[in-house]
């Protein structure tokens, strides 16, 4: 190595990236073969324990210093009190926790009616039905209280994330240095596994709703920052100049020109904040936040599939409702009224909503069922559904299919693949990853890959990291095998593209947690269930971006191909796919990021990877270990992110698509 490092800088320049990548692969191959022959010294196969630095202990010391000596804990505990007050307030309104202001809970019928009116205002009858229907379902199925526990945290965390995200977004847009500081932090935050958000939240903000709200808020901030900056940058220069020529001061510019003009992007940010908050707030079940997530966790833990399914439906309905309504708000534009429209007509929706709210609140005083669906009054079919699902899974052919898939995938594909990946010596693996980055992206990305994976090796969690990676790679490969053909087929007709995109859109709004339900139903507690849940989750962006990439190929190009006498297959292969590839790569990248996210959640099913260790840290106060594990996941994900996005950007520039 020492010889190589001294001669490297001069000799490197004379070789192309491809040649160096090839050399790396060759070295890696040799190492692996030597290992298979049993000749490789163990210290080359895996880093010896002795040289692995104890990052966790160092981090712990740092945390303790910040926490106690710098008084951060005292500060956050102080914040906790304020937050707790807010959460108690919303908890009282939503589900009647006995705290100030002691007026809740709001009757479910009043909420449902209001939701329906908001839905109608934003998007007509369909959204009214969705809004009202979701609430009615939630109440009648007997999940009102847990759903409102979830919503009460969401109602605080999402606005908080919005305000913080908006302010940081404005700051990043205004001051270049803030942007420079925030950018890398955001990309790390977006790849950090959510367990790594949870533990610090618990330590600094007390177990329960406060920690849940903090973790949720932090998790939901990044897209808000990005969308705000994007929107502000996109404001047309003429509008800005018009503002200046109208004599706006700086504050007036921001308030009257920039922010209203960036309305669309800011509202898209709001939509993302809401969706991420919901996804996260469900996951905070892992740190003991009561609500839908906790119930789902408990039900799945005791294999009560019927109830799990019902909760899953509630979560999905809530997600779809929030998503559709916030999206409708994005495209809802102000409308003018004719002159002399009476005031009550201008605000008819507001009045209707208020009227129904008050009406149902009063009515529920008389009819208790309208205020609260009591025990035994609900229409939950948990038991029956449970039997139904289990009976279905016991049908001969179903059982045979899942059994076969399970056995085949496990024995023939997954386990051999995993063992193979584990058998590769650490240095060889790092070289392979670096070669991959070098060939696809460039020397900078290769260097990142080298450094990042070496850090993972030094963390001492190499085997678990490789198992995590194995889950990700096998799930994404399988997802590509299924998702790409679906995307290609669907892109052939307008109708099918729209349908499949709608499915993808809807599926993307589901909080990741619910993807575990079908996986467990079909495959029980096995590796296949883990892979399956990741696969379904990762397939969504793959299919979606394939369709979008193919549909966005300029028409002249496909027409030119047609006129050149290309067959469908030729057209696909030599015109459409090459042009769609950069877009598809973005989808591929997102699939990998989703997979890294999901594989950690799948720890719940039982895995042997980093996620499992991470989940274990939640029980204690092992902040150092928690961070080391989280950073490992983040570093691996970042390597792929940097490499693939660079490749896609290069490709796009080459094709002149930007």
């Amino acid at each position: 190595m020492t010889v190589a490092s001294t001669t490297l800088p001069t000799s490197l320049r004379s070789f192309s990236n491809a040649q160096i990548a090839l050399a790396c692969v060759a070295v890696a191959l040799c190492l692996t073969i030597v290992q298979y022959l049993g000749l490789l010294p163990t210290w080359l196969h895996r880093l010896p324990e002795a040289i692995i630095p104890n990052f966790a202990a160092v981090l712990d010391a740092v945390f303790n210093f910040v926490k106690d000596d710098l008084g951060l804990l005292a500060f956050t505990r102080f914040l906790t009190e304020g937050l707790e007050w807010l959460l108690d307030f919303s908890a009282n309104i939503f589900f009647g926790k006995r705290r100030f202001p002691n007026i809740g809970p709001v009757p479910w019928t009043a909420v449902a009616a209001t939701a329906a009116v908001i839905g109608y205002y934003l998007g007509g009858w369909r959204l009214a039905l969705l809004g009202g229907g979701t609430m009615v379902w939630t109440a009648l199925i007997g999940q009102w209280e847990i759903a409102m526990q979830t919503m009460s945290v969401l109602a605080i965390a999402a606005p908080l994330a919005f305000v913080i995200g908006l302010s940081l977004g404005i700051a990043a847009w205004k001051y270049a240095w803030v942007d420079r500081v925030i950018k890398p932090v955001l990309s790390v935050l977006q790849t950090l596994p959510f367990f790594t958000y949870l533990l610090p939240a618990v330590i600094f903000f007390k177990v329960g709703p406060t920690a849940g709200a903090v973790a949720t808020t932090i998790y939901a901030i990044p897209p808000m920052i990005l969308m705000t900056t994007l929107g502000l940058k996109k404001v047309s220069p003429e509008v800005v100049e018009a503002g200046k020529m109208s004599g706006c001061t700086k504050a007036q510019m921001l308030r009257h020109v920039y922010i209203p003009s960036a309305r669309t992007e800011i509202l898209v940010g709001v939509n993302q904040v809401i969706m991420l908050s919901l996804a996260m707030v469900v996951l905070t079940a892992f740190i003991g936040m009561p609500g839908l997530g906790a119930k789902l966790l408990a039900m799945m833990g005791s294999f009560k599939l019927g109830r799990s399914f019902e909760i899953g439906v509630t979560i999905v309905l809530l997600a779809v409702m929030l998503d559709r309504m916030s999206k409708a708000w994005v495209i809802k534009l102000p409308e003018h009224f004719e002159r002399d429209t009476p005031i009550w007509q201008k605000h008819s929706m507001l009045l209707l909503g208020l009227g129904l709210f008050i009406g149902f609140t009063l009515l529920s005083l008389v009819v208790p069922f309208l205020a609260e669906v009591g025990r035994g009054q609900d229409f939950s079919q948990g038991k029956e559904l449970d039997n139904l699902i289990k009976a279905f899974l016991n049908i001969e052919w179903v059982k045979a299919t899942t059994g076969f898939l399970r056995a085949f995938l496990n024995v023939q594909v997954l386990i051999p693949f995993r063992n193979f990946m584990l058998s590769i010596p650490t240095p060889a693996f790092i070289l392979l990853v670096a070669a991959f980055a070098l060939a696809l992206a460039g020397r900078r990305e290769a260097l990142y890959a080298l450094v990042f994976f070496s850090l993972v090796a030094l963390s001492g969690w190499w085997d678990r990291a490789i198992i995590t990676l194995y889950s990700v790679i096998s799930a994404v490969s399988l997802a590509a095998l299924i998702g790409l053909p679906i995307g290609i087929l669907a892109s052939r007709s307008n109708k099918w593209s729209e349908r499949v995109l709608l499915v993808c859109d809807t599926a993307q709004t589901f909080p990741s947690f619910v993807y575990l339900i079908p996986a467990i139903m079909l495959f029980g507690i096995t590796d296949v269930a883990v892979i399956f849940s990741i696969l379904v989750f990762a397939m969504v962006p793959l299919t979606r971006y394939t369709i979008e990439g193919l549909r966005n190929v300029p028409e002249e190009m496909t027409e030119a191909a047609d006129m050149s006498g290309a067959t469908r297959l030729q057209k696909l292969w030599s015109v459409q796919l090459p042009i769609a590839l950069p877009t598809m790569a973005v989808g591929f990248n997102q699939a990998i990021m989703f997979a890294f996210f999901m594989v950690i959640i799948a720890a719940f099913i039982g895995t042997q990877d980093l996620g499992q260790e991470l989940q274990r840290t939640l029980a204690g106060t092992d902040l150092g270990k928690n961070f080391v594990l989280g950073i490992c996941v983040s570093l691996m994900a970042l390597t792929f992110d940097l490499t693939i996005m660079k490749w896609a950007a290069d490709k796009k520039r080459m094709l002149g698509l930007q």
């Binding site: 047309s236 003429e238 509008v239 100049e241 018009a242 503002g243 200046k244 020529m245 109208s246 004599g247 706006c248 001061t249 007036q252 009257h256 020109v257 209203p260 003009s261 309305r263 534009l333 102000p334 409308e335 003018h336 009224f337 004719e338 002159r339």
Partner: protein, 340 residues
Amino acid sequence: MTAENPVISCKNVWKIFGPDPEAFMKTMPEGMSFEEIRAAGYIAGVKDVSIEVHKGEMLVIMGLSGSGKSTLVRCFSRLHDITGGTITVEGQDIMSLSEKELIDLRRSKMGMVFQSFGLLPHRTILENVAFPLEMRGQDKHTRRERALEVIKLVGLEGREDYFPRELSGGQQQRVGIARSLAIEPDIWFLDEPFSALDPLIRKEMQDEFLRLQQMLNKTIVFITHDFDEALRLADRIAIMKDGAVEQCDTPDQIVLHPATEYVRKFTEDIDKARVVHAGVLAQAHASGEGEPQDAGTTVHDMARMLVNDTREMIPVHRAGVSIGAMSRKAALDVLLGGDS
């Protein structure tokens, strides 16, 4: 033109874009060309421009895209800070103004119309037009009254409560014009106001604009890339190329005596007879006989007379007073495109 002080006067104005324009400007050798500056990594948006705009005059700045015309007008209102030279507006060096003074100047003296209208999408027509008034803190009632007044002026009555997206392009630009007039500015900047419109609408808006100008008599700087439009509207035209002014003169003079090859190319396909007036052709010390022509008549309008008449010299009057006579042959040369 008039002897009074010009409203806008700029001397040796430079606007350079690039990493460190001030430093570059200081070290830049004299007489560097646009290409040489570009090779050094800078763009000369405005290159050594000296020009004056007089009260009540309409100066049209004409040039192709990238010629620096929009940059120049943005220097006048200090939307861009200039790199070198001085610009004075009504005797005040605008580069020396503080931010507050600059805002006050824009709030009270300047109006601007933009190519893509620059309307605020979330505000109604009324609120858009009242925007500059709102910014300077006028109360709601007077704001509304004044805005309605200008909306009526541009012929958009009854559309006050619409949103910009609900109007056609021509109507949106009327809103832009109304907004720029709301504060009753003395100086009116129009940056390619009609370029984004269809040809038919463009013609209609030009007529409308001339009507407004006749009523309001403002000092106007009008930007266009359309030579016909420039000829139609201008008192004087400044033709720009690569950030520099190639020629600045009346339409007649530009058509008759293009200063550079570049300007000549523009005038080539122009029907000169529709641009050149009798007054320009008149030689002060010459005299002619018979029926006089008015100085404001175009050669085109005199065509029949020029062909049928036999006089050598034709007297020219302005407002009934003789200003000399024009040679019939010279006028015929303009009409028929012969060499003069």
